[in-house]
């Protein structure tokens, strides 16, 4: 199995400005979420979470039905539903359509699903210019990086880095004020919106009964992508469905508050098909591409199906003590934090990403804040079990397995346990009382890695066994 990327994680941990940027931003997002759920709303909020969980469960349990309903309703509105098994099929569909229409420029709004499938690279390879239009995504695209947070993709970048980036890539004066930087991006991107032949967006929700998608955002770029170009393509995972429009209300109330502490984001677009008769603007053609990309596999594991409930709010990232220290780029896939730790190994297999479920203190914060009540801590444990089984099967964990069997034997044999206690003598230190670090000679082989970041806790002044014996004696005297 692949080794843990310790070096890269260490690099982040020793980079103070980066560490500070991640820690401060996630801290602010936590505070905003807390402020958006005041005490008088807490009971309602819990009800919404319950309801959202029930709707997601029901929809996924009957997904085939809702997909067929969606297809029929969308067709009735003049749109088309396209299925794709994998990223190549999404890319092939979009490039073919773009070429058919003679499209040279595609404008895109932020979408995790298209990040997942590296859509931009596919389109660029075919010679189709693809521009990200969400400000954070645009910055990341110019820098040639990948997003480090589901909701705030450029969270790891400072305004000074952005000033250099804009000067270099856009040939503008160096500008350090975020307000002016935003204006520069607005100007450049406005041109793109108005000349693009195709707009690509994601979809936060897909409403089966309405044949509609729901897209939420703050900037207005998704509205532009979906209404300025003559063709609009939305790309989403098959798990994004909800049965009815009325179900959307509860999700909207949860999503904005959980993500950025907003009761509602600035724009919520409920779109069904292309423009209708008599309308002046809006796309003339509308396609919805639904991606499997490994989702049906997870759907088939009832104990893990809830991994697909995720509405990508990022709250679990912001509240995770591990994410807040190592940031998004140390996670191997576009989904980071606790949700990334549970879905990445399920999508990509244990072999590659087995260590992710271990990148957690199991504090449970992720599960507590999840707006759709995914039991992330339970899934982390379940995946840990699988990772260890896999290691034992591959023979990789033979020594570890042996060590734990030995440990178990010692723990169940009092005399052996007593004798093992003598090892404490080696660790006693005349000056400090306790060394904590296991002496050099013992730190070899596999133990070396294991002890690299671990100290041994000092033993208590009195042993439990002695206390127990003394107590027994006292009881005996009383009688």
């Amino acid at each position: 199995m692949k080794p843990i990327p310790v070096e890269s994680i260490q690099k982040t941990l020793s980079n103070d400005p980066l560490g500070e940027a991640i820690y401060a931003s996630t801290g602010r997002l936590m505070a905003k979420r807390a402020a958006a759920i005041p005490d008088h709303l807490r009971e309602d909020f819990e009800q919404w979470r319950e309801q959202a969980n029930r709707i997601k469960r029901h929809t996924l349990e009957n997904l085939d039905y809702y997909l067929e309903l969606l297809e029929e309703r969308l067709r009735a509105r003049g749109g088309r539903l396209v299925y794709a098994r994998d990223e190549a099929e999404v890319a092939r569909f979009i490039t073919r359509l773009a070429k058919e229409k003679g499209v040279r420029l595609v404008v895109k709004s932020k979408s995790m699903t298209t990040e997942e499938i590296h859509l931009n690279e596919w389109l660029e390879k075919e010679g189709i210019e693809t521009v990200e239009t969400d400000l954070g995504e645009y910055i990341i695209q110019l820098a040639g990086e990948r997003p480090s947070h589901i909701v705030a993709p450029a969270l790891h970048k400072t305004r000074y880095e952005i000033a250099d980036l804009f000067r270099e890539k856009l040939a503008v004066e160096r500008e350090e004020e975020p307000e002016r930087q935003t204006l520069i991006a607005r100007r450049v991107l406005r041109e793109k919106f108005l000349s693009a032949g195709l707009g690509v967006t994601g979809a936060n929700f897909v409403v089966a009964e309405s044949g509609a998608i729901v897209v939420i955002e703050n900037e207005g770029n998704a509205r532009l992508c979906s209404s300025a170009p003559p063709v609009h393509i939305a790309v989403a995972g098959i798990e994004k469905l909800v049965p009815r429009a009325q179900d959307v209300a509860v999700f909207l109330k949860l999503l904005g508050r959980s993500a950025t502490g907003q009761p509602l984001t600035v724009y919520t677009s409920f779109l069904s098909g292309p423009r209708r008769d008599g309308e002046i603007d809006g796309p003339q053609e509308f396609y919805l591409v639904l991606l499997d990309g490994g989702r049906t596999k997870i759907l088939g594991e009832p104990s893990r199906r809830e991994s697909l409930y995720c509405i990508r709010c990022g709250a679990c990232l912001n509240h995770c003590p591990v994410y807040r220290k190592i940031g998004g780029h140390n996670y191997p896939w576009v989904y980071s934090g606790p949700i990334g730790a549970i879905i990445t190994p399920q999508f990509h297999g244990m072999e590659k990403d087995w260590w992710l479920p271990f990148a957690s203190s199991l504090c449970g914060a992720c599960g507590e804040v999840c707006p759709v009540k995914i039991d992330i801590p339970r899934l982390l444990l379940e995946l840990r079990v699988e990772a260890v089984r896999e290691k034992i099967r591959s023979g990789e964990a033979r020594l570890e397995h042996l060590a734990f069997r030995l440990w178990a034997w010692v723990m169940t044999h009092p005399r052996a346990y007593e004798a093992a206690g003598l090892f404490n003598l080696v660790l006693r230190d005349d000056e400090t009382g306790w060394k904590g670090q296991v002496p050099g000679p013992f730190r070899t082989g596999p133990l070396k890695e294991w002890l690299r970041f671990r100290n041994l806790p000092a033993p208590p002044a009195k042993k439990f066994r002695d206390l127990w014996a003394a107590r027994q004696q006292r009881e005996a005297l009383k009688e």
Partner: protein, 214 residues
């Protein structure tokens, strides 16, 4: 192009994964959770104004069509404006104000006009009190881009269309797709916090939103 075989394969996989080999209708989905509180109009107006102003938009109340017209006139003084073809705006006399251009029926012309004007004036179908939102349904008289491309957006909405919130909207419109190809809920001016989480308004959409309750 992925075709019906891909569709059938994915649906078959889903049916196998969920143990529904023969498909068929599902059990009843959970009942929608929609609560519509009773809130008097005066209070709704207060809520709406407070919520929109918190987002640095501005709510105005006009007691008559004439008052609304005067208000718009004042707001657009010295600026050029594009008004949608909404019958409501004509009725209020907005479209005949100096500096207001209207009557666009071609998307390309509209885009070009929007590129050089300062203010977009539209009607709104509803407003939501608790979040300070405007709800617009695109229609032949109501283009999508007028509320989006210009630096300032002014929306007029009849007072009795001020709803309590999202739940009332979805109770009134159980399926928005039945009415329109595009329903947009606008909650304050366009904004971003993508650079160091510093709030900047007017990224791609308007940096100022005026809502006039008539």
């Amino acid at each position: 192009m992925p075709g019906d075989d891909v569709r059938d394969e994915i649906l078959a996989k889903i049916r196998a994964a969920t143990g529904r080999p023969s498909g068929g209708p599902p059990p009843q989905p959970p009942k929608p959770l929609l609560t519509v509180p009773e809130v008097p109009l005066e209070e709704r107006i207060e809520q709406f104004s407070a919520a929109l102003e918190k987002l640095s938009g501005k709510a105005h109340v006009a007691e008559s069509a004439e008052a609304a017209r005067a208000l718009v006139e004042e707001l657009i003084t010295g600026r050029s404006a594009i008004a949608s073809n909404s019958p409501l705006l004509r009725e209020y006399g907005i479209t005949s104000l100096t500096g207001v251009f209207t009557g666009y029926t071609d998307a390309a012309e509209l885009k070009e006009a929007c590129a050089s004007a300062d203010v977009g004036i539209t009607g709104a179908d509803y407003a939501l009190a608790d979040t300070g939102s405007l709800v617009t349904l695109s229609a032949p008289g109501e283009a999508r881009l007028i509320s989006l491309l210009l630096p300032v957006h002014i929306a007029l909405v009849p007072k009795q269309r001020l709803l309590t919130g999202l739940d009332e909207l979805f109770t009134l419109l159980p399926d928005p797709a039945a009415q329109t190809s595009s329903m947009v809920i606008i909650t304050g001016p366009s904004r971003t916090a993508d650079i160091e989480q510093i709030l900047v308004k007017g990224v791609h959409g308007p940096r100022m939103v005026h809502a006039i309750l008539v």
